[in-house]
Protein backbone atom coordinates (compact mmCIF):
# COMPACT_ATOMS: atom_id res chain seq x y z
CA UNK A 1 0.00 0.00 0.00
CA UNK A 2 2.58 2.55 1.01
CA UNK A 3 5.00 2.90 -1.85
CA UNK A 4 6.51 5.89 -3.55
CA UNK A 5 4.43 5.86 -6.72
CA UNK A 6 2.48 8.85 -7.84
CA UNK A 7 3.77 11.29 -5.25
CA UNK A 8 3.61 14.17 -7.67
CA UNK A 9 0.08 13.23 -8.72
CA UNK A 10 -0.88 13.57 -5.07
CA UNK A 11 0.86 16.92 -4.68
CA UNK A 12 -0.76 18.18 -7.86
CA UNK A 13 -4.11 17.06 -6.59
CA UNK A 14 -3.67 18.88 -3.28
CA UNK A 15 -2.47 22.04 -5.05
CA UNK A 16 -5.40 21.92 -7.47
CA UNK A 17 -7.91 21.44 -4.68
CA UNK A 18 -6.44 24.40 -2.79
CA UNK A 19 -6.71 26.53 -5.92
CA UNK A 20 -10.35 25.51 -6.44
CA UNK A 21 -11.20 26.17 -2.79
CA UNK A 22 -9.58 29.62 -2.83
CA UNK A 23 -11.31 30.50 -6.09
CA UNK A 24 -14.68 29.46 -4.75
CA UNK A 25 -14.06 31.43 -1.56
CA UNK A 26 -13.13 34.62 -3.38
CA UNK A 27 -15.98 34.34 -5.89
CA UNK A 28 -18.61 33.74 -3.23
CA UNK A 29 -17.15 36.46 -1.04
CA UNK A 30 -17.21 39.06 -3.80
CA UNK A 31 -20.98 39.34 -4.08
CA UNK A 32 -22.37 42.26 -2.15
CA UNK A 33 -26.09 42.34 -1.66
CA UNK A 34 -27.81 45.73 -1.86
CA UNK A 35 -30.12 45.91 1.12
CA UNK A 36 -32.57 48.73 1.95
CA UNK A 37 -30.16 49.82 4.67
CA UNK A 38 -27.58 50.65 2.03
CA UNK A 39 -29.76 53.23 0.30
CA UNK A 40 -28.33 56.00 2.49
CA UNK A 41 -25.23 55.93 0.32
CA UNK A 42 -27.34 57.03 -2.67
CA UNK A 43 -29.31 59.43 -0.48
CA UNK A 44 -26.06 61.11 0.45
CA UNK A 45 -25.64 62.41 -3.10
CA UNK A 46 -29.07 64.04 -2.98
CA UNK A 47 -28.26 65.50 0.43
CA UNK A 48 -25.05 67.01 -0.91
CA UNK A 49 -26.90 68.60 -3.85
CA UNK A 50 -29.59 69.96 -1.55
CA UNK A 51 -27.17 71.34 1.05
CA UNK A 52 -25.11 73.00 -1.65
CA UNK A 53 -28.17 74.55 -3.25
CA UNK A 54 -29.35 75.97 0.06
CA UNK A 55 -25.85 77.23 0.92
CA UNK A 56 -25.66 78.99 -2.42
CA UNK A 57 -29.02 80.63 -1.79
CA UNK A 58 -27.87 81.67 1.68
CA UNK A 59 -24.72 83.42 0.47
CA UNK A 60 -24.99 87.21 0.08
CA UNK A 61 -23.96 88.65 -3.25
CA UNK A 62 -20.22 89.37 -3.41
CA UNK A 63 -19.76 88.13 0.13
CA UNK A 64 -21.15 91.43 1.39
CA UNK A 65 -22.90 91.80 4.72
CA UNK A 66 -26.19 92.23 2.88
CA UNK A 67 -29.17 89.96 2.67
CA UNK A 68 -28.87 86.58 1.01
CA UNK A 69 -31.43 85.36 -1.51
CA UNK A 70 -32.80 82.91 1.05
CA UNK A 71 -33.23 85.62 3.68
CA UNK A 72 -34.92 87.87 1.12
CA UNK A 73 -37.30 85.08 0.11
CA UNK A 74 -38.36 84.50 3.71
CA UNK A 75 -38.56 88.17 4.66
CA UNK A 76 -40.79 88.89 1.65
CA UNK A 77 -42.69 85.59 1.86
CA UNK A 78 -41.75 85.13 -1.78
CA UNK A 79 -42.59 81.49 -2.36
CA UNK A 80 -42.63 81.86 -6.13
CA UNK A 81 -39.13 83.34 -6.01
CA UNK A 82 -37.94 80.44 -3.84
CA UNK A 83 -39.36 77.98 -6.35
CA UNK A 84 -37.59 79.68 -9.27
CA UNK A 85 -34.17 80.01 -7.64
CA UNK A 86 -34.13 76.66 -5.86
CA UNK A 87 -35.51 74.63 -8.77
CA UNK A 88 -33.00 76.16 -11.13
CA UNK A 89 -30.04 75.42 -8.85
CA UNK A 90 -31.24 71.87 -8.23
CA UNK A 91 -32.31 70.81 -11.68
CA UNK A 92 -30.28 72.72 -14.24
CA UNK A 93 -27.53 70.65 -15.74
CA UNK A 94 -25.43 70.46 -18.84
CA UNK A 95 -27.62 69.78 -21.83
CA UNK A 96 -31.22 70.54 -22.59
CA UNK A 97 -33.05 68.14 -20.26
CA UNK A 98 -33.25 69.24 -16.63
CA UNK A 99 -33.02 66.87 -13.67
CA UNK A 100 -36.21 65.77 -11.93
CA UNK A 101 -35.52 66.56 -8.27
CA UNK A 102 -38.65 67.56 -6.37
CA UNK A 103 -38.75 69.51 -3.12
CA UNK A 104 -40.96 70.49 -0.24
CA UNK A 105 -39.66 73.40 1.83
CA UNK A 106 -40.76 74.47 5.30
CA UNK A 107 -39.63 77.25 7.59
CA UNK A 108 -39.39 76.30 11.27
CA UNK A 109 -39.18 78.98 13.95
CA UNK A 110 -39.75 79.62 17.63
CA UNK A 111 -42.99 81.51 18.17
CA UNK A 112 -41.82 84.89 19.53
CA UNK A 113 -45.10 86.33 20.81
CA UNK A 114 -48.69 85.55 21.65
CA UNK A 115 -50.15 82.71 23.72
CA UNK A 116 -47.89 80.07 22.18
CA UNK A 117 -44.61 81.88 22.89
CA UNK A 118 -41.69 79.46 22.95
CA UNK A 119 -43.36 76.74 20.90
CA UNK A 120 -41.71 75.53 17.74
CA UNK A 121 -43.88 76.01 14.69
CA UNK A 122 -43.56 75.46 10.96
CA UNK A 123 -45.06 77.01 7.88
CA UNK A 124 -44.85 75.97 4.24
CA UNK A 125 -42.50 77.97 2.06
CA UNK A 126 -43.21 76.16 -1.20
CA UNK A 127 -43.30 72.72 -2.76
CA UNK A 128 -42.75 71.58 -6.31
CA UNK A 129 -45.49 69.06 -5.59
CA UNK A 130 -47.04 67.52 -2.52
CA UNK A 131 -45.90 64.30 -0.89
CA UNK A 132 -48.18 61.34 -1.54
CA UNK A 133 -46.41 58.82 0.66
CA UNK A 134 -44.45 56.75 -1.85
CA UNK A 135 -41.52 59.11 -2.09
CA UNK A 136 -38.14 58.29 -0.66
CA UNK A 137 -37.15 61.72 0.55
CA UNK A 138 -34.03 63.06 2.25
CA UNK A 139 -33.95 66.09 4.51
CA UNK A 140 -31.58 69.03 4.31
CA UNK A 141 -31.66 72.24 6.30
CA UNK A 142 -30.21 75.71 6.40
CA UNK A 143 -30.13 78.27 9.20
CA UNK A 144 -31.06 81.88 8.59
CA UNK A 145 -31.41 84.97 10.74
CA UNK A 146 -34.33 87.02 9.46
CA UNK A 147 -35.94 90.31 10.28
CA UNK A 148 -39.45 89.19 11.11
CA UNK A 149 -41.08 92.50 10.26
CA UNK A 150 -41.27 92.84 6.50
CA UNK A 151 -41.42 96.45 5.27
CA UNK A 152 -42.35 95.15 1.83
CA UNK A 153 -45.35 93.27 3.13
CA UNK A 154 -46.16 95.77 5.87
CA UNK A 155 -46.64 93.00 8.43
CA UNK A 156 -44.77 90.26 10.29
CA UNK A 157 -43.80 87.12 8.40
CA UNK A 158 -44.49 84.60 11.17
CA UNK A 159 -48.22 83.75 11.33
CA UNK A 160 -48.51 84.23 15.12
CA UNK A 161 -47.20 87.76 15.02
CA UNK A 162 -49.77 90.44 14.36
CA UNK A 163 -49.52 94.23 14.64
CA UNK A 164 -45.72 94.09 14.48
CA UNK A 165 -45.52 92.67 18.00
CA UNK A 166 -42.43 90.53 17.30
CA UNK A 167 -40.22 92.87 15.34
CA UNK A 168 -36.50 92.33 15.37
CA UNK A 169 -34.22 89.52 14.27
CA UNK A 170 -35.06 85.88 14.79
CA UNK A 171 -33.47 82.57 13.91
CA UNK A 172 -35.29 80.25 11.54
CA UNK A 173 -34.48 76.89 10.06
CA UNK A 174 -35.33 76.22 6.42
CA UNK A 175 -36.01 72.50 6.14
CA UNK A 176 -36.30 70.94 2.71
CA UNK A 177 -37.36 67.44 1.74
CA UNK A 178 -35.85 66.30 -1.55
CA UNK A 179 -36.68 63.34 -3.71
CA UNK A 180 -36.42 62.28 -7.31
CA UNK A 181 -39.45 61.50 -9.43
Amino acid sequence: MVNRDAQLYTIEGIAASLIILLTAYIVLNSTSIYTPGDSHINDMQLEVIGSDALSMMNTPVNGSAGTSALQAVIENNDSAGFNTIFSNILNNRTGATPDTIQFLANVTYVVPAGPNTGNVNTYRLNASRLLYGGEHAVRVSQWVIVDTYSPALGHDIFPECVFAQCRGKHAALVEVLLWRD
Binding site: I26, S30, S141, G168, H170, A172
Partner: protein, 123 residues
Protein backbone atom coordinates in the same frame (compact mmCIF):
# COMPACT_ATOMS: atom_id res chain seq x y z
CA UNK B 1 6.44 14.84 -14.50
CA UNK B 2 4.37 12.21 -12.80
CA UNK B 3 7.09 9.71 -13.45
CA UNK B 4 9.47 11.76 -11.34
CA UNK B 5 11.81 13.16 -13.89
CA UNK B 6 13.38 16.58 -13.48
CA UNK B 7 11.97 18.25 -16.61
CA UNK B 8 10.03 21.49 -16.64
CA UNK B 9 10.41 22.30 -12.96
CA UNK B 10 10.67 26.00 -13.72
CA UNK B 11 7.49 25.94 -15.78
CA UNK B 12 5.57 24.28 -12.95
CA UNK B 13 7.02 26.69 -10.38
CA UNK B 14 6.11 29.72 -12.51
CA UNK B 15 2.63 28.30 -12.93
CA UNK B 16 2.18 28.19 -9.17
CA UNK B 17 3.62 31.66 -8.68
CA UNK B 18 1.33 33.16 -11.32
CA UNK B 19 -1.75 31.44 -9.95
CA UNK B 20 -1.04 32.57 -6.39
CA UNK B 21 -0.34 36.13 -7.46
CA UNK B 22 -3.71 36.09 -9.21
CA UNK B 23 -5.26 35.21 -5.86
CA UNK B 24 -3.68 38.18 -4.20
CA UNK B 25 -4.97 40.48 -6.94
CA UNK B 26 -8.42 38.96 -6.54
CA UNK B 27 -8.34 39.60 -2.79
CA UNK B 28 -7.32 43.21 -3.36
CA UNK B 29 -10.23 43.67 -5.80
CA UNK B 30 -12.52 41.92 -3.38
CA UNK B 31 -11.62 44.34 -0.58
CA UNK B 32 -11.97 47.41 -2.75
CA UNK B 33 -15.77 47.29 -2.81
CA UNK B 34 -15.98 46.82 0.94
CA UNK B 35 -13.56 49.66 1.60
CA UNK B 36 -15.62 52.00 -0.59
CA UNK B 37 -18.77 51.11 1.26
CA UNK B 38 -17.26 51.53 4.71
CA UNK B 39 -15.84 54.92 3.80
CA UNK B 40 -19.14 56.10 2.36
CA UNK B 41 -20.93 55.00 5.50
CA UNK B 42 -18.48 56.77 7.76
CA UNK B 43 -18.82 59.96 5.73
CA UNK B 44 -22.61 59.88 5.65
CA UNK B 45 -22.88 59.29 9.37
CA UNK B 46 -20.75 62.27 10.32
CA UNK B 47 -23.10 65.29 10.69
CA UNK B 48 -20.86 67.65 8.76
CA UNK B 49 -23.58 69.92 7.36
CA UNK B 50 -25.41 70.09 10.70
CA UNK B 51 -22.30 71.18 12.58
CA UNK B 52 -21.31 73.63 9.88
CA UNK B 53 -24.79 75.15 9.74
CA UNK B 54 -25.28 75.71 13.44
CA UNK B 55 -21.69 76.91 13.86
CA UNK B 56 -22.13 79.45 11.06
CA UNK B 57 -25.38 80.84 12.41
CA UNK B 58 -23.92 81.02 15.93
CA UNK B 59 -20.97 83.04 14.66
CA UNK B 60 -23.37 85.30 12.75
CA UNK B 61 -25.32 85.86 15.95
CA UNK B 62 -22.19 87.29 17.63
CA UNK B 63 -22.38 90.29 15.34
CA UNK B 64 -25.99 91.17 16.15
CA UNK B 65 -26.73 94.06 18.43
CA UNK B 66 -28.39 93.35 21.74
CA UNK B 67 -30.06 96.69 22.40
CA UNK B 68 -33.60 97.08 23.63
CA UNK B 69 -36.40 96.74 22.92
CA UNK B 70 -35.67 93.95 20.44
CA UNK B 71 -32.60 92.29 22.10
CA UNK B 72 -31.81 90.59 18.81
CA UNK B 73 -28.75 88.66 19.97
CA UNK B 74 -30.38 87.10 23.02
CA UNK B 75 -33.49 86.13 21.05
CA UNK B 76 -31.57 84.62 18.16
CA UNK B 77 -29.18 82.68 20.38
CA UNK B 78 -32.01 81.23 22.46
CA UNK B 79 -33.86 80.27 19.29
CA UNK B 80 -30.77 78.55 17.92
CA UNK B 81 -30.62 76.36 21.05
CA UNK B 82 -34.33 75.55 20.93
CA UNK B 83 -34.45 74.80 17.21
CA UNK B 84 -31.31 72.62 17.37
CA UNK B 85 -32.85 70.51 20.07
CA UNK B 86 -36.25 70.29 18.41
CA UNK B 87 -35.41 69.92 14.75
CA UNK B 88 -31.75 68.84 14.48
CA UNK B 89 -31.68 66.43 17.44
CA UNK B 90 -28.58 68.07 18.82
CA UNK B 91 -27.60 69.91 21.96
CA UNK B 92 -25.82 73.15 21.21
CA UNK B 93 -24.23 75.22 23.94
CA UNK B 94 -22.14 78.32 23.46
CA UNK B 95 -20.93 81.42 25.22
CA UNK B 96 -18.66 84.26 24.29
CA UNK B 97 -16.38 86.60 26.19
CA UNK B 98 -14.06 89.36 25.16
CA UNK B 99 -10.71 90.45 26.62
CA UNK B 100 -10.56 93.80 24.87
CA UNK B 101 -8.60 92.72 21.82
CA UNK B 102 -10.21 89.41 20.97
CA UNK B 103 -13.62 87.88 21.32
CA UNK B 104 -13.76 84.17 22.08
CA UNK B 105 -16.72 81.97 21.26
CA UNK B 106 -16.78 78.62 23.06
CA UNK B 107 -18.96 76.37 20.96
CA UNK B 108 -20.14 72.85 21.85
CA UNK B 109 -22.22 70.53 19.73
CA UNK B 110 -23.42 67.03 20.65
CA UNK B 111 -25.97 64.88 18.85
CA UNK B 112 -25.47 61.77 20.95
CA UNK B 113 -23.01 60.19 18.51
CA UNK B 114 -20.71 63.01 17.51
CA UNK B 115 -19.39 65.73 19.77
CA UNK B 116 -17.76 68.85 18.40
CA UNK B 117 -16.06 71.56 20.45
CA UNK B 118 -14.43 74.69 19.19
CA UNK B 119 -13.12 78.01 20.40
CA UNK B 120 -13.65 80.57 17.70
CA UNK B 121 -11.58 83.73 17.98
CA UNK B 122 -11.95 87.03 16.21
CA UNK B 123 -10.65 89.36 14.93
Amino acid sequence: MARLNDDAQWIVLMGFIVSFSLFFLAIVLNQATVVGQTTAEAVSEFPKEDIRGVRDVTIQSLFLDNNGPYTNQTNVQNEIRILSLNREDSVVQFSSQTDGTHTYLNFHYNNGVTAYNETYTYP
